[in-house]
C-alpha cells in the first residue's frame, strides 16, 4: 500500500506551531485530550499532515500510530489540505443515477489524485459530497462557489481548464 503522506509540501508557520503548542498545553493531562487537540490542530492548519501529527505525538508522549489511528477513524479529520479550488462532486442518489460516479472517476483520473486528496501543486482538491439540493441539474459538481450541472464526462477537461491559469 502506498503511504498516505500528503504530496503537498507542508507550509506550516512558526506562528501556527506556537498556537498548536498552546492548545496542547491547555488539554494535556486531561482524560481524552487527544481528540480535542486534533480538532483544534485541524482548525489551525486546515488538515492534519504528518508534520502536525508528529508534534501532537511528541507533546502528548504517545506514538504517532496512536494519533494516526484516530485521524483515520473519524472522517472529519483530513490528511490532505484543501486546494485553491475545491471540487465537490455530488454522489447523492439523483446525481449518481445520472452518472456523477463517472464524472468523479474522470476527475480522479485527470487530476491524478484520489477523492479526499489534493494535487501536489495545491491547486485542486477533490471530494465527494451528498445532495446539494440541485437535483434538477443532476449530475452536479461545484468548484468553490461555482455550480456546474447537467454534466457529462466530456465536460470535465473544459471545466478544469477555466481554473488552470
Amino acid at each position: 500500500m502506498a503511504n498516505t503522506i500528503s504530496s503537498v509540501p507542508f507550509a506550516g508557520t512558526k506562528e501556527q506551531e506556537k498556537e498548536l503548542l498552546e492548545v496542547v498545553k491547555k488539554h494535556k493531562g486531561q482524560q481524552g485530550a487527544l481528540m480535542p487537540i486534533m480538532q483544534e490542530a485541524q482548525g489551525i492548519y486546515g488538515y492534519l499532515p504528518i508534520e502536525v501529527q508528529k508534534i501532537i505525538a511528541r507533546e502528548l508522549e504517545v506514538s504517532l500510530e496512536e494519533v494516526y489511528g484516530v485521524a483515520t477513524f473519524y472522517s472529519q479529520f483530513s490528511l490532505n489540505p484543501k486546494g485553491q479550488y475545491k471540487i465537490s462532486v455530488c454522489l447523492g442518489t439523483a446525481c449518481y443515477v445520472k452518472g456523477s460516479g463517472d464524472v468523479y472517476d474522470k476527475l480522479q483520473e485527470t487530476l491524478k489524485i484520489k477523492g479526499g486528496e489534493c494535487t501536489p501543486d495545491g491547486k485542486f482538491s477533490l471530494e465527494a459530497c451528498r445532495c446539494i439540493g440541485a437535483c434538477g441539474l443532476a449530475p452536479v459538481l461545484t468548484v468553490n462557489d461555482d455550480v456546474y450541472g447537467r454534466l457529462i464526462v466530456d465536460d470535465v477537461p473544459g471545466i478544469l481548464a477555466k481554473y488552470m491559469d
Binding site: 508528529k54 511528541r58 504517532l64 477513524f73
Partner: protein, 581 residues
C-alpha cells in the same frame, strides 16, 4: 472477598466477584475457545468466538470480558452457542486469504483449529467483495500479510503494553480497518525495534518472521562454502516444542544431531561467544568503574533493546556496552581466528545463527559488524525456521540421538547457557567480575539468586571486595522504560544494568516456537523454559566464562589482553541515534 454462586453447564461453582465467565469456566474444567483474548493485555471481547449463553439474557455474551453474577446460569456448549461461533468463523473466513496448504502456520493456526473444531466446512459461504489488503515485507525481520489478519489486535497489545513501542495499530474504520503503521508507511521506515513479540502472539499468519531458510539451503548446497552454524543458548530449551515435546525440555544433543545431518560443516554453540562476551564486558565494566567511565554500563546482547535505545533513549547510547552481541562475536571470531586456524578464506565461510529472535536478522545487517571485511554473520534464522528445516529434511527431532557440539567453537560454560534467561547475563558477568575484582578464584559458584526469576525488574547490591556493586535487570521494553526513567531522573543509580528486549529474555523471544493463546494465557512459558537453562548450568563442570579453555586460547593466541586493541577491532561495535517518529 465476596463470592458469587453460579452454574456453568449445570455445574455449581463459587468464584470471587469480578471473575469473568471464561475464568470461572476454567475452574470447572471447561475451556471456552477464544481468538482475540490474551490474558491481561488484550481483553476486548472483539472476536465473539468465546460467546456463551446466559439464561434470561436476550443476547449471547463474550465470556472473556463478562463478569459472573449471583445465580447466573451459563451454557457454553448449547446449540445456539455453537451456531453463533460457527457463523462468526464463517464471517472471519469471508475476508481471510485461505492459502492454508503452504502457510507456515498450518497446523499451528488458531483460526484453523477453531474452524476444524466447529466444522466450518464451507469456508466460502459469505464470500463477497474485499478491500485490497497490504503485504509489507520491507523490514529485515518480518512480513505482514494483512490478507490473513483477523483484526484481533493481539499484536497491537503486545507492541503497546509489553514493549511500549506502539508502532502498529488499527487504521481506518469499518470494513476498511486494517492493522498498519502511521501513515501506512513501510514498517522498515518507522521506529519498530524488530523484537517479534507481535509475531508470537498472532493467531494466524498475518505476521511471520522473514523466512531465510532458502539462503541457508543455498549455502549448504554450495560446495565452495564452509557453512557453520551457531545456536543461541535458549534454542535448546525451546526447539522441542515445535515437535510436540514438553515445554522446558532441553534438546541440546538432538539439536546438534539434527544440524549435523542437515549438512553443516561445523556445529557450534553461541554459548562459547557468550563466554567471550562476558570476559570482554566484565573487563569493560571494571575499566569504567576504575577510570570513572560512563555508568551504569548497560548490556548490548539484545538487538531489540539496542534498537529501542537508539530510537527512544538515545541519551543512553554511551551507557551501552560497546561489546558486540554473542551472535556477532561468534561470527567475527569465526571469520578471523578460526579462519586463520583452519586455513580458510573468510569469504568462503558462511555463518548461520539460529536465534530466538527476529531482531537478530536486523542485527546481521548493522554497520560495524564485519570484522573480517565480510559480514560477521551471513544469515540469522529463528527457532521456528530451524524446526521447519528439520521437518523438511524428514527428521523427527525426538527420535534423534544426542550428539556433542564440535570443537573448538562449541566449548562453553554454564555462564554462557544462562544468557538465554532474564538475569542470566548479569549473573554470568558477576561470577567473573567477582573473581577479578577480589583477585581470588574459588571452585565454588557464588549465588546471585536475586537476579533470577521472571519478574520484569530486579535489583540487587552485592559486596565484591571492597566495592558495593549495584545492579538491576529488566526484561520487556515497558520495564526497560520504567528502569531507564528512574536512572535518568537520578532516583536510582547502578553500576551495571542488564536489559533484554523480550519479557523473560531470549527464552520468550520473538523467534521462538509459537504457543497458542490457550497455552500462553495459563502457563508460565518464561519460567518453564528458563528452568531448562538453569538446570543445564548446574550440570556443567565449568560455570564461569573466564574458565572456558577456548576463551583463554583465543586471547593467548590471537587477541592478547582482555579489551586489547585487537579485541576492540574484532569484538566491539558502534551505535547510532535513530529517529523516534
Amino acid at each position: 472477598m465476596e463470592m458469587v454462586n453460579l452454574k456453568i453447564n449445570g455445574m455449581p461453582i463459587s468464584v470471587p466477584q469480578g471473575t469473568t465467565i471464561l475464568e470461572a469456566a476454567r475452574q470447572v474444567g471447561i475451556e471456552i475457545p477464544t481468538l482475540c483474548y490474551l490474558r491481561e493485555i488484550n481483553e476486548i471481547g472483539a472476536c465473539r468466538i468465546c460467546t456463551v449463553e446466559v439464561k434470561g439474557m436476550r443476547n449471547l455474551v463474550a465470556a472473556c470480558v463478562y463478569p459472573v453474577a449471583e445465580g447466573m446460569e451459563v451454557l457454553t456448549n448449547s446449540k445456539r452457542v455453537f451456531a453463533a461461533r460457527k457463523m462468526n468463523l464463517e464471517l472471519i473466513l469471508s475476508t481471510h486469504e485461505r492459502k492454508c496448504l503452504s502457510c507456515v502456520r498450518s497446523g499451528n493456526c488458531e483460526l484453523q483449529k477453531l474452524c476444524k473444531d466447529f466444522r466450518v466446512y464451507d469456508e466460502t459461504i459469505y464470500d463477497g467483495e474485499n478491500e485490497p489488503r497490504d503485504y509489507d515485507d520491507s523490514a529485515a525481520h518480518l512480513v505482514r500479510d494483512n490478507g490473513k489478519c483477523v483484526l484481533c489486535r493481539r499484536c497491537v497489545a503486545a507492541c503497546a503494553q509489553w514493549q511500549h513501542v506502539s508502532v502498529i495499530g488499527p487504521n481506518g474504520r469499518g470494513f476498511k480497518t486494517h492493522i498498519g503503521v502511521s501513515f501506512d508507511q513501510n514498517l522498515a521506515d518507522v521506529a519498530c525495534v524488530s523484537c517479534g513479540q507481535c509475531i508470537v502472539v498472532c493467531p494466524t499468519c498475518a505476521l511471520s518472521e522473514k523466512d531465510n531458510t532458502k539462503d541457508v539451503w543455498r549455502a549448504l548446497n554450495d560446495p565452495t562454502k564452509h557453512v557453520i552454524v551457531q545456536t543461541a543458548p535458549s534454542i535448546r530449551a525451546t526447539l522441542g516444542e515445535a515437535f510436540g515435546m514438553h515445554i522446558g525440555t532441553n534438546v541440546e544433543g538432538k539439536m546438534v544431531a539434527a544440524l549435523r545431518r542437515l549438512g553443516f560443516d561445523g556445529v557450534y554453540d553461541t554459548d562459547f561467544a557468550a563466554d567471550m562476551t562476558i570476559v570482554e564486558e566484565a573487563h569493560e565494566l571494571m575499566e569504567r568503574i576504575q577510570n570513572g567511565g560512563k555508568l551504569p554500563l548497560i548490556t548490548s546482547c539484545s538487538p531489540g533493546w539496542v534498537k529501542f535505545c537508539e530510537h527512544y533513549y538515545p541519551d543512553f547510547i554511551e551507557n551501552l556496552s560497546s561489546c558486540k552481541s554473542p551472535q556477532q562475536m561468534f561470527g567475527a571470531l569465526a571469520k578471523t581466528w578460526y579462519a586463520e586456524k583452519m586455513g580458510i578464506d573468510p569469504k568462503d565461510i558462511f555463518v548461520v545463527g539460529v536465534m530466538p529472535c527476529t531482531a537478530k536478522k536486523f542485527e546481521t545487517k548493522r554497520d560495524y559488524e564485519s570484522a573480517s571485511g565480510y559480514p560477521d554473520v551471513d544469515v540469522a534464522i529463528t527457532t521456528r525456521e530451524l524446526a521447519r528445516m528439520i521437518d523438511r529434511a524428514g527428521m523427527y527431532l525426538p527420535k534423534l540421538p544426542d550428539e556433542e557440539f564440535d570443537a573448538p567453537l562449541g566449548t562453553s560454560t554454564g555462564a554462557g547457557v544462562i544468557f538465554g534467561a532474564t538475569g542470566g547475563v548479569m549473573e554470568a558477568a558477576l561470577r567473573t567480575a567477582a573473581e577479578w575484582i577480589t583477585g581470588e578464584s574459588t571452585d565454588a559458584v557464588p549465588d546471585f539468586k536475586e537476579v533470577r526469576g521472571t519478574a520484569g525488574i530486579k535489583e540487587a547490591t552485592y559486596k565484591v571486595g571492597g566495592l558495593e556493586v549495584k545492579v538491576a535487570v529488566a526484561s520487556g521494553l515497558s520495564n526497560a522504560k520504567i528502569l531507564l526513567d528512574f536512572i535518568r531522573s537520578g532516583e536510582k543509580s547502578y553500576h551495571f544494568v542488564e536489559i533484554m528486549g523480550c519479557p523473560g529474555g531470549c527464552i520468550n523471544g520473538g523467534g521462538q516456537p509459537v504457543q497458542p493463546a490457550a497455552v500462553r494465557n495459563f502457563i508460565d512459558l518464561k519460567a518453564r523454559r528458563a528452568a531448562a537453562l538453569y538446570a543445564n548450568d548446574e550440570q556443567k563442570t565449568l560455570r564461569k566464562s573466564h574458565e572456558n579453555p577456548v576463551v583463554k586460547q583465543v586471547y593467548a593466541e590471537y587477541l592478547g589482553e582482555f579489551g586489547s586493541h585487537k579485541a576492540h577491532e574484532i569484538l566491539h561495535t558502534k551505535y547510532v541515534k535513530r529517529e523516534q517518529f
